[in-house]
Amino acid sequence: MDASVQPPADSAAKPFRLRWWRLTAFARDRGAVVAGVVLLAITAGAIFAPWLSPHGPYEADNLLRFAPPGTDGYLLGTDQQGRDMVARLLWGGRVSLAVGVVPTLCASAIGLFLGMLAGYARGIVDQVIMRTLDVLFAFPMVLLAIAIAGVLTPGVGTEILSITIVLIPYVGRLARTATLGVVSMPYIEAARAAGGTPLAIMLRYVLPNVFSPIIVYATTLMGLMIVVGSGLSFLGLGVQPPMADWGAMVSDGRVVLRRAPHVTVLPGALILIASLAFNFIGDGLRDALDPRAGRR
């Protein structure tokens, strides 16, 4: 799970511009389109949870605990406190998706900035940034996330913070490699000679070229972080009861695994589907934005 976090070796080697027409190639990749639709459906479900769920996520009915899927009024059954699974899944999706997307976006922004800075400035700035990131790299990802999340007060905010911190070195390293690739191009020399300020050069030339691999990478990361984030919640280090996300729901279902497997199976399946969808989209984006990086 964790090692797929490493970006592919050649993704930063060839900088290229983000061209919007290439996204039409994306639309032709059926797998990616299906994945996009699925993801949209899940996201919509999460956003419109209050209107879509037949019951509230905290409405417990003690008489109806562990009702199997298909019980009257409860399409997917109930959990250990008699709460509607559909409602719990929809509301839980909000947190799970947020924990996957938000830290990735933050880490991408920060990592992009740091990586570009290191790659463009070189010298002591580069050394300092990379050495610091190396320290973070010395921890296996899950370990660092647990250490941070466990040490601070548990909660969704802590979860998001810890995942963000864990991801920054990965994005940073990719951004730096991509920046190094761009900076070695002759047109950067030309731009400098023409009197461009470093900031202007970075924004006009470096950023567009570094953007593409970062986007592809970030999409795949989102899928992975949904899994990692739900892992943290599973361990009790994320959302606190009664609020729940899919990871916490899987954990709740552990004790009744035998009697009522649906409590565990359903949320986990959703994690799998959401993560898979992100991966497909990431693959599709990569193929669309840079056909040269194809695997065939």
Binding site: D2, S4, P140, L143, G150, V250, R258
Partner: protein, 316 residues
């Protein structure tokens, strides 16, 4: 080549220094007061003050860090707050258990990854190939803790073929076969994600190696297919595969962590989790440090193997 290893090992020091700082800072960011935890909320202020002084907690932070670092480096890892056992006694057997799980998972993921990846690569473009690639995508997106529970549901609870959790059967006399049986489900759970990654890497690396010009030249010499594959394809496909495999070993230690919790496997991961939850800082520090150090050393070992495999890297 010896100097290469020497240089890399030397480079470990600053990183580990940074790691220790991070761990130390993290511990001190933790809310909650050790004295309150130990003595209970009922204790008097004076008693807490005395305990803090005894534990050296009223010293300036850099001094505390230096003391801690010095003690750790000389092998004194402190005493667990929760159990009052010396941390080193606690940590080492757990380290071994985690090693067992990690190594078993690594071998499993390598066995699956290399064989399936090679299989798919040699049948490039076919239905089997594409089926395999889809499977790896699914396997890579599966949350391991959920997978572990599903496996337990199926094989331990429903079919009763395998044990539910733990490393040995409490009622039995232990021994290697017992451990092996308990190892099956946790190893599969931990190995699946890395196996998917290795499969993809093997497949793409072998496909790429197959296209290189020297393969055709070797065919023109009349080499038999097996020899050709071995010397001119697989050998050349190895370096990125080795890198990825090596990365797995380090990440497996992190991934095994979740599996240990699910399966109650008595390793470093479950120890870390328990001690983080219990706020048993000495244990957390020692465990985190140990895992980080192992991870870093493993990465150096992997780089070393890479250099052995690709002579061009030796001069770099």
């Amino acid at each position: 080549m010896g100097s290469f290893v020497g240089k890399r090992l030397l480079g470990v020091l600053p990183v580990m220094f940074g790691v220790s700082v991070v761990i130390f800072v993290l511990m001190h960011l933790a809310p909650g007061d050790v004295a309150t935890v130990l003595l209970g909320p009922q204790a008097t202020e004076a008693a807490k003050l005395e305990l803090r002084h005894a534990l050296g907690l009223d010293q300036p932070l850099p001094l505390q860090y230096a003391t801690w670092l010095w003690r750790t480096a000389s092998g004194n890892l402190g005493t667990s707050i929760a159990t009052q056992i010396p941390v080193s006694a606690l940590v080492l057997p757990r380290f071994v258990n985690t090693l067992i799980l990690t190594v078993a998972s690594l071998f499993l993921s390598m066995a699956i990854g290399y064989s399936v990846g090679l299989f798919a690569a040699l049948r490039g473009g076919s239905l089997l190939d594409r089926g395999v690639m889809s499977l790896t995508l699914i396997a890579g997106s599966t949350p391991p803790f959920w997978l572990g529970l599903i496996l337990v549901l199926l094989f331990a609870l429903r079919l009763r073929w395998l044990p539910v959790s733990g490393m040995v059967d409490m009622a039995g006399d232990g021994g290697v076969p017992d451990v092996l049986v308990h190892l099956i489900l946790p190893a599969i759970t931990t190995a699946l994600g890395p196996a998917a990654i290795i499969t993809r890497m093997v497949r793409s690396s072998v496909r790429e190696a197959l296209d290189r010009p020297h393969v055709r030249v070797a065919r023109a010499k009349g080499l038999k297919r097996g020899t050709l594959l071995r010397r001119h394809v697989i050998l050349n496909a190895l370096p990125p595969v080795m890198t990825i495999t090596g990365l797995q070993l380090g990440y497996l230690m992190g991934g095994a962590l979740l599996t240990e919790v699910v399966f109650a496997w008595p390793g470093l991961g479950s120890l870390l989790y328990d001690s983080v939850t219990a706020r048993d800082m000495p244990v957390v520090q020692a465990t985190a440090l140990l895992i980080a150090l192992t991870f870093v050393l493993v990465n150096i070992l992997v780089d070393f193997i890479n250099v052995v495999l690709d002579p061009r890297l030796r001069e770099a």
